[in-house]
């Protein structure tokens, strides 16, 4: 039977505040900081302490809520989510439950088959947990580092509106780039600052009824998320094909074994006994605050992409790649403002510069070229002072040592030969030196025209202006035919 996938995603994103959600401990890189160096009585869950909400965390959450077209609650409530686990020092996590910060939003994403709208159920604030390290050197035990405990965490819950892995990928990557564009999360997956949980079910194609869903927890990379969902869709299809039923359960994902596994019984795991957090009064976001946050919203990647398509006549794919990161987009626009032809600049940035970054492993911020030096090269290319091969070679040198295009070209004599007399002489010489090929050409082997072109270009050390060369070659060969 053919099945339709029904997938919802919960995204947990750490917020880039300086201090924690409810105390003044520093937010440190939990993958590299020395253990338990950013912990105080509040985030260690000691008796008699009180949490105080970090204003910046709320403001970051508001940015995300607005970017996702959510309705922001004027009053929202924190709640205690109670469960027992050693990475949770208080025995409960402060989260939001019945009255979240924001609800009913949407995110429009692009897929190969067109636009998709994924509805957002809710966006709420909570705190991260500590980190457990399992040791087994004959005496099994676990070690607890609370540096991450209390770091502000934003939970973004989608409706089950995704029906393919491609849609899940588009949603997750789009959300990541929005979080980065808003400056609220680094997007650095390897540091674990974005984590996913997926709700997955399948139903016979065309059926309106939802199948039994499973929840896959602890998906810490795009790769793990996609593999886990793909595995789960196949597993469930196999179960239904056998006429059996999918069990509703919480699953973990084993990256090494490439399979999901049953984590704990549903009843136990989900008996969180939520109740309103007695230590925190309601969180009030008044209209003034919300208006100010709205007024300060940066341009989002998708809006920028649309603008690039409209203003610079770029293809959708190119516009998206350039618009995704604010830094790349700003460089591109500065280069265009400095006189670079928009499409040519886009091609060279996405082709040569991105390839160089991939090969060197250097981030965009480490580039030695400036928008104006890059624009200088693009202008020389457009005006025919250099040809494409030369431009690429010059750009590689610019990326290596940061010199200006004009300087490199002057130093190495790489200017394109556009002088018609020089090219005329070169063409005449090549035809003279290759009488056998000329004869074959005249006997109908017209593809040799390309070979002549190559020979002249070689004689010109690659610097001949290709348009002038092509025209001159055609003229001289035409003369021979008569």
């Amino acid at each position: 039977m053919r099945y339709e996938a029904v997938i919802g995603l919960e995204v947990h994103a750490e917020l880039l505040t300086r201090s924690k959600m409810f105390c003044s401990c520093a937010v440190v890189d939990s993958t590299s900081a020395a253990p338990n160096t950013a912990v105080c009585p509040v985030c260690a869950g000691m008796p008699g302490v009180l949490p105080v909400v970090n204003r910046q965390a709320v403001e970051y959450a508001l940015r995300v809520a607005l970017a996702l077209d959510c309705e922001v609650a004027q009053t929202s409530l924190f709640a205690r989510k109670n469960y027992f686990y050693p990475d949770l020092p208080k025995g409960y996590q402060i989260s939001q439950y019945e009255y979240p910060l924001a609800e009913r939003g949407r995110l429009v994403v692009d897929t190969i088959s067109g636009e998709r709208t994924i509805r957002i159920r809710r966006v709420h604030l909570e705190e991260d947990t500590g980190k457990l390290t399992h040791v087994n050197d004959g005496q099994p035990r676990s070690l607890v580092d609370l540096n991450r405990a209390g770091v502000p965490l934003l939970e973004i819950v989608s409706e089950p509106d995704m029906h393919s892995l491609e849609e899940v990928r588009a949603y997750a990557t789009s959300l990541r780039s929005i979080l980065r564009a808003l400056g609220v999360n680094s997007g650095d997956m390897e540091k674990g600052v974005i984590r996913f949980e997926a709700n997955v079910s399948i139903r016979p194609e065309g059926s309106a009824q939802l199948g039994t869903r499973v929840e896959i927890k602890n998906l810490n990379s795009f790769r793990a998320m996609e593999r886990a969902i793909a595995y789960e869709l196949e597993r469930q299809a196999a179960i239904l094909d056998q006429g059996k039923e999918v069990a509703q359960e919480t699953l973990g994902w084993s990256e090494s074994e490439g399979r999901t596994y049953s984590q704990r019984s549903k009843e136990e795991a989900h008996d969180y006994r939520y109740f309103p957090e007695p230590d925190l009064p309601p969180l009030v976001v008044d209209a003034d605050w919300l208006e100010r946050v709205a007024a300060e919203m940066p341009e989002l990647p998708r809006a920028r992409q649309q603008r690039f398509m409209n203003n610079y006549a770029l293809a959708a794919v190119d516009a998206r790649l350039l618009a995704e990161e604010a830094e790349t987009a700003a460089f591109y626009e500065a280069a265009v403002a400095a006189g670079a032809a928009p499409r040519l600049a886009a091609n060279y940035l996405l082709g040569e510069v991105f390839a160089w970054m991939n090969a060197s492993g250097e981030p965009f911020s480490a580039l030695r070229i400036t928008p104006s030096s890059f624009a200088g090269l693009i202008q020389m290319l457009e005006s025919g002072q250099v040809n494409q091969n030369t431009a690429k070679a010059v750009l590689a040198e610019m990326l290596r040592d940061g010199r200006e295009a004009a300087e490199i070209i002057a130093a190495s004599g790489l200017q394109q030969v556009s002088d018609a007399d020089v090219i005329t002489a070169l063409v005449a010489r090549v035809l003279e030196e290759n009488p056998a090929e000329v004869e074959s050409y005249l006997n109908g082997k017209e593809t040799l025209a390309n070979w002549f072109f190559g020979q002249v270009m070689r004689a010109a050390a690659g610097r001949a202006n290709p348009q002038i060369l092509r025209r001159e070659l055609a003229r001289q060969l035409g003369n021979l035919k008569r």
Binding site: S19, V52, N54, N82, Y85, L143
Partner: protein, 95 residues
């Protein structure tokens, strides 16, 4: 309505509490009495009245995002029954 002993045991196990048979019976009665009282409250018509979740002042005071010194690992772990490599040591947690 009364809570069953099994329900009391479930609640106790979620809170990692070990109760004697006598305690289970005592808490079963006390918790049942609390639930009965809540049920009486629920009979009140609260249509149009926003839920009260807190008796604290009407809104959260917010804190500026400023870092202040934390405890040292030694201070943090001073009361820990078991510590190792500047971390709390706990029985193995099986995933």
């Amino acid at each position: 309505m009364s809570l069953t002993l099994e329900e009391v045991e479930h609640i106790a196990s979620l809170a990692r509490l070990e109760l004697t048979a006598e305690e289970k019976e005592r808490y079963r009665q006390q918790l049942s009495a609390i639930l009965d009282y809540a049920r009486r409250l629920q009979e009140v018509d609260t249509t149009g009245i926003p839920p009260t979740s807190s008796v604290l002042p009407a809104r959260s005071r917010l804190r500026e995002d400023r870092v202040e010194p934390s405890l040292t690992p030694a201070e943090l772990l001073r009361n820990a029954p078991h510590a190792e490599k500047d971390q709390f040591r706990v029985p193995p947690v099986i995933e």
